[in-house]
């Protein structure tokens, strides 16, 4: 109940800060007017203690007690200033996020660079439940921290807001700054479970449909893929090791395949995308040349990481407004 209230309050404050600050550009140098500060629970305990000291001094009329009370009072206020200043001059930028599959955590890399002449202590990054740090940054030094966001569906996941904070010195206060920058991570569709054999497009133009295998020399075994013809599975090896392998023959580059959206007519759209993702992954893994045919887009045959990424991105963003 209380935590729900405080979460609501926090999001209201954050929205206010966003309206106040506006969108951030790709790199943010922290300035005084965008650093907020509140006492931590230790700060509250400290304040309560000082208040108790004040009451005690009043009661005993103890001048020296007043002296210490007011010294600590001043110390608290000075600590607050130092804590607030400890974020100034730090530049924050988004250093990228590698694409992930839906269901996995998107990992956003945040680069921090200390442009101040003094060391900046105890810098941490927070985003909801996830956070990283604290790190110390010497003058001029830079580092990269990471925040994770859970993903559920394909497409872009945006890091709408995160905070850079510090509790130095003394952990009595937490100074932070909200950052709203255009940080996004591509989420590929979740791959379907393996098992469904490849379905080839009927108009797979240049693809070789029947591999000419027999006359080639046997060169070794590799992990079996559901698309492998049963004749080439290493049944003897399977009997020995419990692992299904496929015999590979020299000169028999696995046949290329063009995966077609229309071959999966019985599935709904998301399941189609999942299945296509699975096939793309398997094909890339087997070193096959593969391509995609989507209702509004066609990706010709190709190989390599870049090609795989292009295919998966097309699947991830299919039907979504860019």
């Amino acid at each position: 109940m209380l935590s729900a209230q405080s979460a609501r309050l926090r999001s209201l404050a954050a929205d206010w800060a966003r309206r106040r600050q506006g969108e951030d550009s790709h790199a943010v140098a922290l300035q005084r007017r965008r650093v907020y500060i509140l006492p931590t629970r230790y700060g509250l305990i400290f304040a309560l203690t000082v208040f108790a000291m004040l009451l005690g001094s009043l009661n005993y009329g103890a001048s020296l007690g007043f002296g210490l009370t007011f010294l600590l009072c001043g110390l608290g206020l000075v600590l607050m200033q130092h804590c607030h200043n400890n974020l100034l001059g730090v530049t924050i930028s988004f250093a990228g996020a590698d694409p992930v599959f839906a269901g996995a955590e998107a990992r956003f890399r945040i680069a921090l660079q200390n442009g101040a002449a003094e060391t900046r202590w105890d810098l941490a990054i927070d985003c909801g439940a996830s956070g990283d740090g604290p790190v110390d940054l010497a003058s001029g030094a830079a580092t990269t921290l990471q925040v994770n966001l859970p993903t559920r569906t394909r497409g872009w996941v945006h890091l709408t807001r995160f905070s850079v904070s510090s509790r130095h010195p003394g952990n009595l206060f937490r100074a932070w700054s909200w950052i709203h920058m255009d940080a996004r991570c591509l989420v590929y569709p979740e791959p379907a479970p393996p098992g469904r054999p490849y379905a080839f497009s009927s108009d797979a133009g240049g693809m070789r449909s029947a591999p000419q295998q027999e006359e080639d020399d046997f060169v070794g075994l590799r992990d079996a893929s559901p698309a492998d013809p049963p004749r080439r599975l290493a049944w003897k090896a399977y009997a020995r090791s419990d692992q299904l392998m496929t015999k590979e023959f020299a000169g028999s580059a696995a046949p290329a395949c063009l995966f077609d959206w229309r071959e999966l007519a019985e599935l709904d759209d998301d399941a189609k995308l999942s299945q296509l993702t699975r096939w793309c992954l398997d094909a890339a893994h087997e070193g096959r040349s593969f391509g995609l045919v989507l209702p509004d887009r066609k990706i010709p045959l190709g190989t390599g990481e870049r090609h795989l990424h292009d295919c998966l991105q097309a699947l991830a963003l299919h039907g979504l407004a860019e």
Partner: protein, 670 residues
């Protein structure tokens, strides 16, 4: 963080917290029962043993047992858990037990905050400037500990952090001073303070048993300080009147229970007046001191008043409320006539003696009275007893038997003021004259640096007052008959049979004496202006600042305003320091000047949320001729900014590129 770093960090945290806990409780060790610091050390030792040698920590049952045992011990020791010392003992117990189970950062933070409170508790009991210095240094150490313990990761480097802690304390000093001076001080306590009965402190006890004390260990401890306004009376006139002892049981002189009514109106004040201010540690006693004979008296404190009782003794009212320091102003007269009339019962009271005590003295007195019954010469002739015989003033007299006056006058003939005053009063009572013993101090030492008088415990004195129907009460000091220099010079400079201790020998060295005087000035300033800063001094200060009778609301407003002003000043000061230290990234600086150049070429400035690449694309569309150099500058900028750039080569290349952009010559590319 690796397990090893976490381990060493945990250990360093423990060491910090242990040091802070011991240091904060150290000033309490003398007042606490011995088991409290012992428990603390035991718990700390156990915790470290558990950590280093992997010994088991006490189980839950034992912890409960120790907790209840310690709380019970506090209660049985003090019969209460309320009050300063019991409260402190409880705090030390809590710190000990908490330390035993301190694991998380939270525990260490709590212990550090409690350490501040322990320091605070030791300040409530007062203390001198040395204690103040120790505690300031210790607050610094505790603050350093707070910074270390408050860290999430491994500990901060000690030396720069100590400097930071010191800097922060110095920066909080102005706030402290302003709050100290302006925060409204209340004239009374918020709730009743449990009294601490005169716990073995030195000073006059309010009774006197000559013959019991055989070595008057006179301490140099300061009884009170006096500041004269105007003329200072001669040292021989400085009789500081204290407790008056009219009751005698044969051995001990004691005060009167109650009062005989108001008789002080009958005093006739003569001679010179002197006005002075006394700063006194009352130590829980009711009586205060003034030069014989005080005429007017005021305290600086509205809570307390001073009243004179029937024996002309000044007492604080209400009794029992006078804890700690008391400052009061008195006017005294050097001569007076206290010609009150005594009723028969009062005469009986002041001449009462146990029957059949001191037979030889009684015989001697009867002989003196038979010679000449005139009471006016009687006093002189009785004093003659001490003058004629070989009486000796010493601070280490032999003990006296049952008949103290007999033994003193006829056997030992050695003693200090108490012996003489008691024997003389007994003789006067035997002669039928009402007499009583007055205790107090005599003399005092001028502190030439601070221009005030210091009256020490070694100045303690006792004399006699004799009543005659014509003149009333007369002061008679038998010591002046034996050792007049004791009265003329004061105890500290008269060397009568005073055992030469190391301290007094050292006291003869002139430079040491100077140093002692200077130290006393520091002490006086501390006691008077810092420890003694209360409602009265605050009012005086504010009146000097031009505030007429400010009430607490105005004071509070003044406090808040000045705190706010100081905070703004501090923010500006610290902000200026930060601004000086920010070094703009050279790449960002170059790109900013590039954007300024583009701005002159009518490219809209970079929008919030726009990436440099998008901006460059826009600029290239606007200036197609420069598209290539815009693209390369932006790429170099991104490389300098977001890729490892150890030598800063990308930054310098960027600078050259930006400089040559549209300036007519090709960049010196590397």
């Amino acid at each position: 963080m690796s397990a090893l770093t976490r381990n060493t960090t945990g250990m360093s945290r423990l060491i910090w917290t242990a040091g802070i806990c011991i240091g904060a409780s150290l000033p309490h060790w003398t007042t606490l029962p011995i088991w409290a610091p012992a428990l603390l050390l035991l718990c700390i030792g156990w915790r470290f043993a558990a950590r280093i040698a992997r010994l088991p920590l006490p189980g839950r049952k034992l912890m409960w047992l120790v907790t209840f045992g310690a709380f019970g011990a506090v209660f049985f020791e003090f019969r209460t858990i309320n009050g300063l010392v019991p409260g402190t003992a409880l705090l030390v117990v809590m710190v000990s037990l908490k330390f035993l189970e301190a694991r998380s950062q939270r525990d260490h933070m709590l212990l550090t905050v409690i350490a501040y409170f322990l320091v605070f508790a030791s300040l409530l009991a007062g203390g001198g400037p040395l204690k103040g210095l120790y505690l300031f240094v210790f607050v610094w150490i505790t603050t350093l500990g707070l910074l270390q313990v408050g860290r999430h990761g491994s500990l901060l480097p000690n030396v720069p952090t100590a400097r930071l802690a010191g800097r922060m304390l110095v920066q909080s000093l102005p706030l402290m001073i302003v709050l100290f001076l302006l925060f409204p001080r209340l004239p009374g306590p918020l709730w009743a303070i449990p009294g601490a009965p005169g716990s073995g402190s030195t000073g006059l006890s309010g009774e006197m048993s000559p013959g019991d004390i055989t070595d008057l260990g006179l301490s140099d401890e300061i009884a009170f300080r006096v500041e004269f306004m105007g003329q200072t009376p001669a040292a021989s006139e400085l009789y500081w009147r204290g407790p008056v002892l009219p009751l005698f049981d044969g051995r001990t002189w004691t005060r009167l229970r109650g009062s005989r009514g108001t008789v002080s109106d009958t005093i006739e004040y003569l001679g010179q007046t002197s006005e002075y201010r006394v700063m006194l540690e009352t130590e829980g006693r009711n009586w205060v001191f003034a030069i014989d004979m005080p005429q007017t008296w005021t305290t600086g404190d509205r809570r307390q008043s001073i009243r004179m009782n029937s024996e002309y003794q000044l007492n604080v009212f209400p009794p029992g409320a006078n804890q700690g320091r008391l400052t009061y102003t008195v006017t005294s007269h050097s001569r007076y006539r206290a010609a009150e009339t005594l009723t028969d019962s009062e005469i009986e009271l002041f001449t009462r003696l146990p029957s059949s005590s001191n037979p030889r003295t009684r015989e001697l007195v009867e002989r003196i009275v038979e010679d000449d019954p005139d009471v006016r010469t009687l006093v002189e002739r009785a004093l003659g007893v001490f003058r004629q015989s070989d009486f000796f003033y010493t601070l280490t007299p032999p003990p006296l038997g049952v008949h103290t006056a007999d033994d003193f006058i006829f056997e030992t003939k050695e003693g200090f003021c108490e012996h003489y005053a008691s024997a003389f009063a007994i003789m006067m009572r035997m002669a039928g004259l009402p007499a009583r013993v007055v205790t107090g101090y005599q003399g005092g030492e001028l502190n030439s640096i601070g221009d005030y008088y210091v009256i020490r415990q070694s100045d303690a004195h006792a004399w006699t007052e004799v009543w005659t129907p014509e003149d009333g009460w007369l002061r008679v000091d038998p010591v002046s008959a034996v050792a007049p220099e004791r009265i003329a010079l004061g105890s500290s400079r008269s060397s009568i049979a005073r055992p030469a201790t190391v301290a007094t020998r050292l006291g003869r060295l002139p430079w040491l004496r100077q140093a002692a005087l200077a130290w006393d000035v520091v002490n006086t300033f501390w006691d008077d202006r810092i420890v003694g800063y209360g409602p009265r001094l605050q009012r005086l200060l504010l009146e000097r600042l031009g505030f007429e009778r400010p009430d607490w609301r105005e004071l509070l407003a003044l406090t808040v305003i000045s705190t706010a002003v100081l905070m703004v000043a501090l923010t500006i000061y610290l902000g200026l320091k930060v601004r000086e230290t920010i070094v703009p990234d050279p790449a960002a600086r170059s790109f900013a000047s590039f954007m300024r150049k583009l701005g002159k070429l009518e490219v809209e400035p970079m929008q919030p949320g726009e990436s440099p690449t998008a901006y460059a694309r826009r600029a290239a569309e606007r200036l197609p001729d420069d598209a290539e150099s815009i693209r390369s500058i932006t790429a170099t900028y991104l490389a300098a900014r977001y890729e490892p750039d150890p030598g800063g080569s990308a930054s310098s290349r960027l600078r050259d590129l930006v400089r040559s952009f549209r300036s007519g010559y090709a960049p010196a590319s590397t």
